[in-house]
Amino acid sequence: MRALDSAPAAVSRPELRAGEMLAEGGEGRVYELAGRPGTLYKAYRRPAPLAPLDALIAWEARLAEAQPELAARVRAATAWPQAVVTQPGGAAGTAAGLLLPRAPRRFAVRHRDGTSRLANLSYLTADPGQRAAAYGLALPAPVSAERIGIVYALARVLEAFQRAAPPVGHGDLSTRNILWSLERGPEVFLLDCDSCERYSPDGEALDAGHRRRAMTPNWDDPAIPAGANPTLASDRYSLGLIFLRVVGAAHFPLQRRQRDRELLSIDFGIPPAARRTRSLLDGAAVWSVCARSLSTADPARRPPAAEWVSALEEALDGLGAMSAVRAVWAAQGGGTPAPSPTRSAGQPADVTVRPVAMSGAARRWERVRPPGPGVPATPLSIRPAPSPAAPSRAAAPAPLPAPPGIVELARTGLRRGGELWLGAHQATLASLSRAGRRRRGARQVLGCAVLDFALLAVIFYMFAMVASVLLGI
């Protein structure tokens, strides 16, 4: 255990042997470390102020002492900074980078082409049919226990952030900063936790001013003015937005409308399988919690993550998926759930969310295959006439030899059938005309009669089918 009254130990940059670079972003680069498979080195582009990073590392150490159950969630489900890396000779009070835990391998998806990629939220925020066609991934259906379980796992991590003293806010809960896995049950893993901020009991940022903490476009809190840092309430907005997009498996572009002060009326599609689940019916806790989370009218009244935890437990219970709840607890260090908080009543003035029957048939997604090797355009000896309609037709790709079409097959079949029929009758006539073969000829006449009768019956039947429609019978 770390000493709590002293600054966390720093690592000197020359002590590290950086391996392969794994990612590059606006803030810096992330490298593997030789000999330390579970740890990554994040190198900042420019030296960063040391004090806020030290404060975050100490925050987690203190949480482990004071509320070990909450600290276990943070440790299991976040890339929480482990140590500051300093550069000998660097400016005093600055960090060159950080040591971070690496996301376990199960937080990855394997595309059809065999490449493995971090399982970020983008895979979940669209029709799973599209993701199956595009990447060959079998993802859970909208409003399934797996999807609700992933948001539940996230809500429990944010609950730990918010119940700690002092509370912390992540400030950029966006698609690339949240990884998920379903391998051992629903799990999340939060990245970019070095941008987290500690807040005083009245919501004042304790380390702000040092740095700009920008939210990712499309995952931002529309209550925050352009250029300003997110607040403790911004994570509460993000959780509501992530619920809509992940559980609903859709884009839900809301922020522009909210910035324009539009009143939002959100229809959340419930598939037939979940339509009788009481905890998802109109009036269930989850819809009110969601609407209040998304409200920009009074961000201070957005519900804490703890309310989501209890509403989602209710939803999962209703779906008969308490196993998902237990799996999340087990993955986040065990422990017992906190008693459900009292719910603040009422709907916000600017947002309503209601469950509706999922509309329409599923969209079909087809893969685009190239039309074979490129075909060179035939050089023309004369210039094409400048007719306005000509270009589109002239430009159609040269057709490849086409496989036989249905018409072609039918034509061939009819011709073969006709030849067989004619052959059989000719053979019968030939037999009858020859003495000594009459007995065989008689058998053939009988065969031909049966064949012709059957043919006539089929033709009559088809004629009757057509005629009955024409006559309106």
């Binding site: 082409d113 490449t115 990629r117 970020n120 983008s122 895979y123 669209a126 599209q130 993701r131 066609a133 595009a134 990447y135 909208p142 698609t175 690339r176 476009p217 499309n218 859709a250 884009h251 839900f252 572009p253 809301l254 922020q255 522009r256 409308r257 009326s265 959100i266 229809d267 959340f268 599609g269 509706v356 999922m358 509309s359 329409g360 969209r363 997604w365 893969r367 685009v368 295959r369 190239p370 039309p371 074979g372 090797p373 490129g374 075909v375 060179p376 355009a377 035939t378 050089p379 023309l380 210039r383 094409p384 400048p386 306005p388 270009p391 589109s392 002239a394 430009a395 159609a396 790709p397």
Partner: protein, 231 residues
């Protein structure tokens, strides 16, 4: 009312590539090596692919749609391009206008909303058709009375004429580019396509900000061009 049917507007990119005989050899080999990389870079990232649609139009004496405008995550492979024939800019512009119009209506039919399309025009030579002919095709493509008229970025190397490229990009600043004298196609083409990948990825990020911008491939002195959403 907001529901799951509402999707992000998409940003269509058309690569309009000169496939005349002079592109044979190194330039075309390099295009055919780079296009699969572009497909992977855009298509294998769901956050980028979601808002980008990409098509390839090639032209020589006539123009072809080599890759129909597609969501690159659904494209299995990019067709290879073969170089032959002369350089009819008129064929390219007429084909682009018709293709954009058709694609727009097909997309609307599926409920997609569009940002103004971008055309990346790449040529290594001068037009072999009459100036009046290609210029009138060009003015049909860039006619501001036609609501779908695209923003055109043009790139030239080899024998391309800077004055012609400037005309193709409607003489708008920072939209037409010519390779430095003596630059080899073997280096110019990969750089251009790498720049195009970066341009598409950056433009996709701008779509999410709600203010889509056509972010040009990184070339000194270029600035992003604001792009408006179509009705």
């Amino acid at each position: 009312m907001v529901n799951a049917e509402e999707r992000y507007a998409v940003f269509p990119f058309y690569l309009c590539l000169d496939a005349s005989a002079s592109m044979a050899g190194t330039p075309m080999e390099s295009v055919n090596r780079q296009l699969p990389l572009l497909r992977a870079a855009v298509g294998e990232d769901p956050a980028v692919a979601e808002v980008i649609r990409f098509g390839v139009v090639t032209f020589n004496d006539v123009a072809h749609t080599t890759l129909p405008l597609s969501d690159l995550s659904l494209v299995e492979a990019v067709p290879t391009v073969v170089a032959a024939g002369r350089t009819s800019y008129a064929a390219a512009f007429d084909h682009l206008r018709q293709t954009i119009e058709d694609d727009y209506h097909a997309s609307r039919g599926k409920g997609d909303r569009w940002y103004r399309p971008a055309v990346i025009f790449v040529s290594d030579g001068r037009p072999t058709d009459d100036p009046e002919r290609w210029q009138s095709a060009h003015s049909r493509l860039t006619d501001t009375g036609w609501k779908r008229h695209p923003n055109i970025l043009s790139f030239g190397f080899g024998d391309a004429d800077p004055a012609v490229l400037a005309h193709v990009s409607e003489r708008k600043p920072h939209r037409a580019f010519i390779a430095a004298e003596g630059a080899e196609p073997a280096t110019v083409v990969p750089e251009l396509l790498a720049g195009l990948i970066q341009s598409i990825v950056s433009s996709s990020a701008s779509v999410y900000s709600g203010e889509a911008q056509l972010v040009p491939p990184e070339v000194p002195s270029m600035t992003p061009i604001p792009v408006d959403e179509l009705d």
